[in-house]
């Protein structure tokens, strides 16, 4: 039994806006005060402290083939970012791409207890799961990339919707994934021909389907299967001046269907002069405000070192061509691809400055905090360790104005940012970092502190400097266990791996097997993880 007593509780899901409340915990879950047994309970005096549910990151790249390729690719990233072993805690290294154990420690030390790995190709899902077993403390899940999948595109071409649905269900089970991820639908396949897509109705070479069809089909299937999290969409034209227009078109195309648009900052640009895009945050925010079934995360840019990594292969090639930075590319048979390019974002660079400004504007212009979540698309736009800094920018308009004055003049032109006086409250921060993402993920026991919730609790000393406050929680509990104190890990229990197990007609396996024999270099039996448990796994029910 654990009692967190007398804290100012920010629990938006249960309507608590800083009210003084006691939280009681038994067997890793929050229980009602009636069940409290003070005798022998571990008591935390939280008087005057800010109590929130553990943080929930809806989009981050922390494990798997791409992340590990980036770690190997960037020894220069790790030097000076090492952590020595301490007792039973493992050593590690990495600034933008920390090693697995260090990743678990860093998230926990920041008060985050649930993290979604944003993109895993099914062919290498086993790899992602092996790494997840080495990320302690935090609960995890991974999204499965499907936007360029051959079997699926053939189903769409042949008008076989049910087969597509059965396949998606099978694929999620076979890869122990949590949600459908779509990255540049059709564009990654076209990249294998040296090309890309630029419009929703462009053709995918060799399949005769379009990005629009892929998006619509997967969004429908996601709903039909009752997946807890809607399709997680990185649309077409990311980083291009046409991105805001096609983002709005995509939102319109999926009207009436649930969808999550990730790191929307990267897809909110218009055409500017001399290759410097404009921020179209106003138009994007308007579209987000208008669509009730839609959520976004921002992917806020943070000045400094970053590692871009995405399944969007053609994007990464053009980023390599523009920046001259070293480039990795991996084409994955029948499924997807990806690239890695290190970058350094500078406030004096007009393009980077516009990206920063776009993210800030989106945060402040999207009205409903339940629809916009805090991410940096770690490590694409910045590191997850920068979240406290982003919170400060949102909560402190003087600080924001100060940073804004320091960015390249071209990026300040025409910005609505000086007129946006909005400051996020602690309650709203609890929404965009906890309650909102948990709700969008369909994780009923996360992001709140009501009865039955996982006892993931972050307790902060309120400070004027919100970056400092959120960087070093006084206490962090994971499932009722104290895992970090004053910003330092004190225990590293294993975290769980969540996945979904939607049902499907087993008859589809015959067709999938045939597809495998014709196109894959791995056998059907060795690809699927269906009958192989991963450590500390837990199935989240479909609706």
């Amino acid at each position: 039994m654990l009692g967190v007593l007398g804290g100012r509780v920010y629990d938006p899901r249960n309507g608590s806006d800083g009210e003084t409340r006691d939280i009681w915990v038994k067997d890793g879950r929050v229980v009602s005060p009636e069940e409290a047994d003070r005798q022998g309970a571990e008591i935390v005096d939280a008087t005057g402290l800010v109590v929130m549910p553990g943080g929930v990151d809806i989009h981050s790249h922390i494990v798997g083939a791409k992340v590990n390729a980036a770690r190997k690719f960037r020894p220069e990233d790790h030097r000076g970012a090492e952590r020595a072993r301490a007792g039973a805690f493992r050593s590690g290294s990495g600034h933008t791409v920390p090693s697995t154990h260090l990743t678990g420690y860093l998230y926990a030390e920041m008060g985050y207890t649930t993290v979604m790995e944003a993109a895993t190709a099914p062919l290498v899902a086993r790899h992602a799961h092996e790494e997840m077993a080495d990320v302690p403390i935090i609960d995890k899940a991974t999204f499965i990339t499907m936007g360029n999948n051959h079997f699926l595109m053939k189903c769409i071409r042949d008008g076989r919707h049910e087969m597509a649905r059965d396949y998606v269900a099978w694929l999620l089970r076979a890869s122990k994934g949590y949600a459908i991820k779509i990255v540049n639908p059709g564009g990654v396949e076209n990249w294998k021909w040296g090309s890309n897509v630029g419009e929703l109705d462009d053709e995918v070479i060799g399949f005769g389907v379009t990005p629009r069809q892929i998006l619509e089909t997967l969004a429908q299937i996601s709903g039909e299967l009752g997946l807890p999290h809607p399709p997680h969409i990185h649309g077409i034209n990311l980083g291009r001046s046409s991105s805001a227009r096609t983002s709005i078109e995509t939102m319109a195309a999926l009207d009436g269907l649930r969808a999550h648009f990730c790191h929307i900052q990267f897809l909110s640009y218009g055409k500017g002069k001399g290759g410097v895009h404009t921020s179209e945050a106003v138009a994007i925010a308007e579209a987000v405000n208008a669509h009730p079934d839609l959520t976004v995360d921002v992917g806020q840019l943070v000045f400094g070192s970053a590692t871009t990594m995405t399944s969007d292969g053609p994007l990464q090639h053009s980023l390599h061509r523009t920046t001259g930075s070293k480039w990795m590319n991996v084409d994955v048979e029948g499924e997807t691809g990806g690239g890695i390019v290190p970058v350094f974002y500078k406030r004096t660079n007009p393009i980077n400055a516009v990206m920063w400004r776009t993210g800030m504007e989106l945060f402040l212009l999207i009205k409903d905090p339940w629809k916009v979540f805090l991410t940096t698309d770690h490590p694409n736009a910045g590191c997850f360790t920068s979240y406290p800094h982003v919170i400060k920018l949102l909560m402190d308009r003087d600080y924001r104005a100060e940073v804004f004055e320091g960015i390249h003049a071209r990026a300040r032109e025409g910005s609505v940012l000086h007129d946006l006086e909005r400051e996020y409250s602690l309650y709203e921060i609890a929404v965009i970092t906890r309650a909102g993402p948990a709700r969008a993920l369909g994780l009923k026991n996360k992001g709140h502190l009501g009865v039955g919730a996982d006892a993931d609790i972050a307790i902060y000393q309120e400070m004027d400097d919100k970056a400092e406050m959120f960087a070093r929680p006084r206490y962090v509990f994971k499932g009722g266990t104290l895992v970090a104190r004053d910003g330092t890990v004190v225990a590293d229990p294993p975290g769980r791996t969540f996945y979904v197990a939607p049902s499907y007609d087993p008859g589809v396996e015959k067709d999938i097997r045939r597809h495998f024999e014709a196109t894959y270099t791995v056998s059907f039996e060795n690809y699927s993880m269906l009958s192989q448990p991963v450590t500390h796994e837990e199935v989240i029910a479909c609706g």
Partner: protein, 422 residues
């Protein structure tokens, strides 16, 4: 009575072919189908009989051997953990944990084969793909400094030469194949074009190719033993192909120039992506050497040559690589997992290994086991132990347990040692 097991993976080489059919009779493998001759031998000849560990050549109980191993490691100030590429991910994870605990240097056989490839990738990047992309798309294939006909016997048949793929429906006819090497090989005989490069001249030739790609003209004559006209022909084909793939091997990594050769090749492949799609795949040798890279990288940030001596991981190829640590006489104890440095290392390094107390975990006998103080005859992954191996293109493949022997796995032994060390 015999049982048939399908979709068995073979860990002899980096192809990790997982379509093999195995017949089991009792506790032995009685038949193997689809495997290459070498893979068949690995599977066929495996003797799963339980053997006791040895301490200075004498058989002892497991308990005593674990204690002896732990005390060797406890007494050492600068232990070395080496090998790993023929073990599974599960054991590799434990090996890193032990190294972290001990403040040891940990290195893998990568450092004596494709270590320079890793350095090149870190310096200039790498455009690559999985082997299925090769089979389905590649219409131009170049083998540079490698001889898969001997080292990866089913590579040609499964991925790169003859198989029919989606966009290569006619198999061999749809592919143009070049071999670049210092001498004719079994592979060059099967190529459409063989370019014989002078020993030590790969870097020059690669630089010439990059220059030609950029549109510079080169004086007539030859470079590195290859007529410029032939280089021009290759470059034209490279720029005009649909999807090109270069496979590269130790002819580049272990000859003069090493990582510079590879970096030049990787740069060439990167630059070719302005004209056609192009990838490069290193021909990894041992069955799970790619997995060793992966595990070390996700645990420490670095793929090989890692020292924990300061409490945190430090990367030092040439410094913390096993050959160098031994040749300089720095290591004062060694734990070798499924490899045979006493047989393969340069003399000075091998001699030092003989002088220090050594622990060996290996399913098979080896020269290193012969000089070791403590030897654990462990199970073989994919035969009498289950695990994961990563193919040369970093695709993870599950290894099944085909035989039920009583041998402990590397993972179990390492776990016991971790518990036993102070």
């Amino acid at each position: 009575m015999s049982t048939t097991i399908e979709h068995v993976a073979c860990t002899f080489c980096g192809c990790v072919c997982d379509d093999i059919v195995v017949e089991i009779e009792g506790s032995r493998i009685a038949g193997v189908r689809r495997a290459c001759a070498v893979g068949r031998g690995v599977l066929d000849e495996y003797d799963p009989e339980v053997r006791r560990p040895t301490l200075r050549g004498r058989e002892v109980e497991w308990e005593a051997a674990i204690e002896a191993a732990a005390s060797i490691l406890d007494r050492a100030d600068s232990p070395l953990i080496y090998g790993l590429s023929s073990s599974a991910v599960e054991a590799q994870r434990k090996a890193v944990e032990l190294a972290d605990r001990l403040g040891a240097v940990i290195d893998t056989t990568s450092s004596v084969c494709h270590g320079p490839t890793g350095l090149a990738m870190q310096a200039v990047g790498e455009a690559t793909c999985t082997l299925g992309e090769v089979r389905d798309r590649a219409d131009l294939i170049v083998f540079w400094g490698c001889n898969p006909a001997a080292s990866h016997p089913r590579h040609f048949g499964r991925f790169s030469l003859t198989p029919k793929g989606t966009h290569t429906p006619n198999g061999r006819k749809d592919r143009t194949v070049f071999v670049v090497d210092v001498r004719p090989t079994g592979s060059s005989k099967q190529a459409d074009h063989f370019l014989q490069v002078d020993v030590g001249a790969d870097y020059e030739v690669l630089t010439a190719l990059r220059s030609l790609v950029k549109g510079n003209d080169l004086a007539h004559g030859s470079i590195g033993g290859i007529p410029v006209s032939q280089l021009k022909d290759l470059v034209e084909r490279m720029k005009a192909c649909r999807y090109g793939v270069v496979f590269m091997g130790m002819g580049l990594t272990m000859s003069r120039g090493r990582h510079l050769n590879v970096g030049e090749l990787f740069s060439l492949v990167t630059e070719l992506n302005d004209y056609a799609r192009f990838s490069v795949i290193p021909m990894r040798g041992h069955g799970n050497v790619a997995g060793a890279d992966q595990v070390l990288t996700w645990s420490t940030g670095y793929p090989f040559a890692v020292s924990f001596a300061r409490g945190y991981p430090q990367y030092g190829p040439g410094e913390f690589t096993a050959v160098d640590v031994l040749a300089r006489g720095e290591a004062d104890a060694a734990l070798i997992i499924a490899s045979d440095p006493a047989a393969h290392f340069p003399r000075r390094a091998a001699e030092h290994l003989e002088r220090i107390p050594t622990i060996v975990l290996d399913p098979s006998e080896s020269l290193t086991a012969g000089i070791a103080q403590v030897v654990f005859p462990t199970a073989s992954y994919g035969l009498d132990a289950a695990g994961t191996a990563y193919r040369m293109d970093n695709v993870p493949i599950p290894l099944r347990r085909l035989l039920t022997s009583g041998r402990p796995t590397d993972e179990e032994v390492l776990d016991r040692i971790i518990e036993a060390v102070k």
